[in-house]
Symmetry: C2
Subunit: 193 residues, 2 copies
DNA sequence: ATTATCTATAGATCTATAGATAATGC
DNA sequence: ATTATCTATAGATCTATAGATAATGC
């Protein structure tokens, strides 16, 4: 139907953006090409002028989801520290909030895609690993001087990811809230000591 | 081809057992009926004499995976404390071992199915939630007397699940090992204090 | 005779491709 | 003329069903 090259770039980015949200919400395997294109306002046939295959898109969508969510949580892309550096207390509060739990589509991709990436391609695992290192670096700096030494950044990230993942899986709102609040308080305690 | 009722029961249980391993390894959405029946040594047509639908099997397979892995990690079925009660140190060591990380098919279903269950049916979420309560109860008893009070069981479970999930997703063996060892040491520290 | 499993297949869905369509941009 | 998207479809796969087959168990 004839579209400018500028429109093509905009469409390309909208496809990736839409996919980045869909995979965080529904997982990697649930994403279908026609469903994705429909949500992006296009038809499925045009997809293959943008991406070589469904797998190629998945790789870019995982990358996009990691980048977008990392900058949203105070950790910049691929391990480079963010300029708008948040305090540890702020990171914990935002990460372990009901808002974050209730909107996986725009939330941290490390939590949303953890088990999916473990079953995915090496490319997605490599991108994922780089972002995990970024989070660890950010937490190490914020935890400087805590008693736990090297252990605390790993423990903190594991607990943050685990609490969000459990809070989302569990069927009971009260229990879900408890995972967020108790884990947050426990982590603040570690950071202070 | 004519099979006794005793064989039918054995086949039924083998199908669930096989499915419980397959879903922990590859996720809920990847499981296909024909693939499952093939691995169980049967043909796909017979499946519907055992289960009303693929969804009905998924519910039973999630339940089976939760039951089997819970008893393996010292927490008995549906919140009832195990008779062979392990110490917290033993639970942490076994849960955060490379062996557990490397064999999700027989490992803890709470870690393996976390994001899948969050996207699944209410039935599977209810079963999952009951088992999470079982783990929390077990950890509460083991953490009796720690300084963190109510926070510690939630923090401990979140960190255990998060560390295993991250250790599996990450692409680098050294980093993966660090998640297990640092989280284990951090949690032992919390338990002592 | 009953029934657990197998063979065959219908209907739906999904990835990927081929050719048509209609605006862009030289 | 080029090209970004659309329409139509091929080929594969998946859930579920129907009828055939061959032991079981009264």
């Amino acid at each position: 139907m004839g579209t400018s090259q500028a429109d093509k770039v905009a469409n390309h980015e909208r496809i990736i953006d839409t996919a980045a949200t869909m995979i965080r919400r529904d997982g990697l395997t649930s994403l279908s090409v026609s469903n994705l294109m429909q949500r992006a306002g296009l038809t499925h046939g045009g997809f293959y002028r943008h991406f070589a295959s469904r797998d190629a898109l998945i790789t870019q969508a995982v990358d996009g989801a990691l980048d977008r969510s990392a900058s949203s949580y105070g950790i910049a892309k691929r391990g480079i520290p963010s300029k708008t550096s948040r305090s540890l207390g702020e990171i914990i509060e935002k990460y372990l909030s009901p808002t974050h739990r209730d909107d996986p589509g725009t939330g941290c991709a490390i939590a949303a895609l953890a088990t999916d990436v473990a079953r995915g391609t090496e490319d997605t695992r490599t991108a994922y690993t780089q972002h995990v290192r970024g989070y660890l670096g950010r937490l190490s700096a914020a935890l400087e001087g805590s008693d736990g030494g090297d252990d605390d950044p790993y423990l903190t990230l594991a607990a943050m990811v685990g609490a969000v993942v459990l809070a989302r899986a569990v069927n009971d709102t009260a229990l879900s809230d408890e995972f967020l609040s108790h884990t947050a308080r426990g982590l603040r305690r570690i950071a202070r000591s």
